[in-house]
Symmetry: C2
Amino acid sequence: MRRLTELGQTVACAESLTAGLVSAAIADTPGASLVLLGGIVAYSAEVKVQLLGVPPDLVAEAGTVDARVAAAMAEGARGRLGATWGVSTTGVAGPGPAEGKPAGTVHIAVAGPSGTQTWPLRLNGDRAQIRAGTVERLLEVLAERLDAPVETSGPRADRRGTVGETAGPARHGGGRDDPVAT
Amino acid sequence: MRRLTELGQTVACAESLTAGLVSAAIADTPGASLVLLGGIVAYSAEVKVQLLGVPPDLVAEAGTVDARVAAAMAEGARGRLGATWGVSTTGVAGPGPAEGKPAGTVHIAVAGPSGTQTWPLRLNGDRAQIRAGTVERLLEVLAERLDAPVETSGPRADRRGTVGETAGPARHGGGRDDPVAT
């Protein structure tokens, strides 16, 4: 997270299956308070709706293990905490399936100044391994986005839709340039 | 957390220095979704005020490493998530002091149907050890309160002010019998 400190940027987390492990990982370095504003552990669907603003119709239609839910969670954390970046995790830690999806089915998202991206993950292992793998991959994609030049330089009007991601993430909705604290 | 499942009760977490580790520990068992609604990682003072309802005057007067802040955080998590129990952590993980208090100075709180209690902790070790020690002690005091008979039986009118704690916790404010979801 040294890169975030250098950039003077902040992060907020919205976590379902990881249940706090992303926030804890970011906080695991001295000086984390300059970067980590905090986050919302949204283990239940109700908390995803009430505290993160995930549309209830979306949860009713798609369940909670869904890329659009991950996107809405990341945007909700970013907006509610007023952070530069919002990151999220939702999926099935196991053991056994949930919502008809096998353990290891995970969606992660990063919401930032130029918009929101999601990545589907398919992880193997036990419950702890699936959660740890989710944390690891989320921190990787966040770091990649921090280093995408469009996020940190250039005129604002040029920032949208030109992030050079290579991992085939999906993009959601319009970018919101200014986080809104509530 | 099997005891919470047996009781049909739920928990919500408000975490500062532990930054998600309490939620993650509770979630670390299959079936945790019956018990853990979620939580708020309030690493910054602003998040403690905005998302948990900690009085800003209190933070201005006492800082964030304070038993009354811990109490307000636990009550905020309980109320906002509509859980039976709210638990909280705030303190100095180190290295080095914060707010003029040495590393290892920690306050934890449990808010429940009969009121809110806080415990001051003085922990030794490095950053990881202080955070792990905080999680361990908080889960211990929560388990003790679950087994306090006043919390689980008897007429409601008898519940206030009679919890048989032996560890010398402080009690704060009036008990609130019904969590309020927002």
